[in-house]
Amino acid sequence: MIAQIRIEKLIFPNEEKPALKNIDFEINKGDFIVITGGVASGKSILLHSITGAIPHYYNAELTGRVTIMGKDIKDMPLNKMSNYVGYMMQEPQNQLVSLNVYEDVAFGLGNLEIPLKEIEQKVKNTLEFVGLKGYENRQTSCLSGGQAQRVVLAGVLALNAPILILDQPTAELDPQGRRELYMRLGQLNKLQNLTIVLVMDRIEEVITYANRVFYMKDGEIAKQYSPKEYYEEKNRHFKERLKHNLPLNAGSSKPKEVIAKVSNTSYQYKNNLGGCEDINMEINKGDFLSVIGLNGSGKSTLAKMLIGLLKPLSGEIKLFGQVLNKKNLAKIRSRTGFLFQNPDYQIFANTLEEEVGFSLKLKGEQKEVMDKKVDECLKFVGLKGYKQIHPQRLSRGQRQLLALASILVSDPEFIIADEPTSGLDENQSYIIMDKLSDLSRKGKTVLIITHDLTMAKNYSNRLVALHNHHIKLDILTRDLDEHLDTLKEIGLNFKNVISFEEV
């Protein structure tokens, strides 16, 4: 049997420190392969090599041999790869090329010169399969993250390629969205015998559908596992972590010194798009609070109101005893740090050192103090060795760490982080959460918005669950078991989440 994907002695680029080296594997028809690994381990570059983006799109020499269904990718033009491979990249909005959903799904089919009648039928069937029946006339710019992801998937699936390759397909999805997508991929794999290669940093949820796991490190496939072996090794790591790090905030309740008070606060976006309605909550000093909820439930709106980026239409927000208004805004922000979900919204400098030092420079800090703090923060996030390189040369995960360092350098008392572990692998995520937990123990207040229920359960002392723009639950994490059913009803299933305590 000819392997669908065969890679032999792949090295890329042919330099002293290649991003990919010694890659050798075969993927057969019907395989469901999950590739995981650390930050900048070469996962995305490996996918680029399989799809032919390297060497055709990114002009660089590829040493070794990559064959798809027996054909060398070096001899296949990129725009004919759709006969063999459907490729879905990380950011869905960058892959939606048309103004409405119908045109977007039909885009690839049109390029294949398929008759219009056939295109119409295929678009209809594919949209139905991804759960977007009736979305044909929706504008692509108005889709939510999850919907956009499904439209991209529909566009790729419509081409009927025998191999599907996905790079971090659920990075922006909530637990329910992730579950649905993985279920669909599982169906495609089992029912249509579609070969799937999927790269993901956190793979607990997808692993049940996979038959092999590749773990990448420093550009190599360091280990191949069966899903069972991977689970066992993961549990071993959990236990080891427990020996060294007896955390966490889960069992504790903090002394009550209120640093933020939100009273009867509401916000609504233009065109009647929901924001937050009638929010009442208090945040105590030293709290490690996780705000959870499905996409569009109002989590980011709440965080943006807390930092003064959105002005509530009604109600009042007090931070550090002061009402959040235009007059107090600068003073309050100087004591608060906000980490955006997408690190690229803030990175502009030529070096990591300059980037991290930016807010200190704005404050007029002295150079010696600045250098010391920048070094400390870069060391804290594990990027000290890259101090002088250009931030755009870092991987997505590393840029996320850089953004975190840029926030922590100002030593904020209240840290708000929108998906702080997005784009990070499991180990890196734990490192970040451990650091945030340390800061919380030292009296800093941490509020994270997260879709990662494992992290929320293991690190927070409080959970605030939003549903349809309202607070549905505001509980101490130690009381979580009493509310599992309520949380499941709003799409937040904690029942399969592994906690340190259980391990």
Partner: protein, 257 residues
């Protein structure tokens, strides 16, 4: 954007016309804005343009921003003409400042010409969907690889706008002040560079995503609609070209004689 969308659903009278008819009308307006030399003639041309727009779309709402912009531009043109125009007779002098009689008519005709051009451009570009533009360009024998770029650029405008706003929000939370004009000038680098990096990254990914879905693999592709020019479009196009030719000949004839 809204107009483009409504155009796709044939909701307005203007949507019944072929984009080539709209393009010819656009050329007529440009021709008259450049060839008319008096304020009165230019006012008539502008009035005709506005009436056509009102009749065909039923509203002038979309020109609100344009009117404000043109008033601001007109004020600047007036100041420049008052300061530097040296035609006509001197009507006022204060130190080195001299105002001549031709300053105001020149500012007025300049403003009217600019307004007609901007108005006609808006009229043309908001009256057809990006798909119609693409199909029109293909009728002019432009390869679809290039013709489709029009729709692609329109697709990313709202996304880029939202992203720029998020970048500003991100930098202000880091302490960047954006309260005065000077603050805004100083903040160009920390706000524009992330925007630029994102744009470069996006264009690379968009290009790759398109190629991997077969973009450009053949000389033609299947589109979900096609342009078919109607008889009334042909009559209108011929009439408009005749109008331009006659007007042009009339302008040249006295010289020839």
């Amino acid at each position: 954007m809204e107009l483009s969308y409504s155009a796709k659903h044939n909701e307005k009278f203007i949507d019944k016309f072929d984009p080539r008819t709209k393009l010819t009308w656009y050329l007529v307006m440009i021709y008259y804005s450049l060839s008319c030399e008096t304020a009165l003639k230019l006012c008539i041309v502008l009035l005709v343009g506005i009436t056509v727009s009102l009749v065909l779309t039923g509203s002038l709402k979309q020109y609100k921003v344009m009117i404000m912009t043109m008033l601001f531009l007109g004020l600047q043109m007036l100041i420049l003409q008052l300061l530097f125009c040296r035609e006509g007779i001197l009507i006022y002098q204060w130190g080195i400042l001299k105002i001549y009689s031709e300053a105001i008519p020149l500012a007025l005709t300049g403003l009217l010409k600019a307004t007609i051009i901007v108005f006609a451009s808006m009229q043309f570009f908001t009256s057809s969907s990006p798909m119609d533009f693409t199909l029109m360009l293909m009728k002019f024998k432009i390869p679809y690889r290039f013709a489709m770029l029009v729709g692609l650029s329109i697709r990313f405008i709202p996304l880029m706008k939202d992203e720029y706003m998020s970048i500003i929000e991100s930098q202000t939370t880091r302490g960047l002040k954006m309260e005065s004009v000077w603050d805004n000038i100083k903040s160009i680098i920390p706000t524009f560079l992330p925007f630029l990096y994102r744009a470069v990254r996006r264009s690379t990914e968009v290009g790759l995503a398109m190629e991997l879905r077969g973009y450009g693999r053949s000389k033609t592709r299947t589109f979900s609609s096609d342009l078919s020019i109607k008889n009334y479009d042909i009559v209108l196009i011929i009439a408009m070209f005749l109008l331009i030719i006659i007007s042009f000949v009339c302008k040249l004839l006295p010289l020839a004689i």
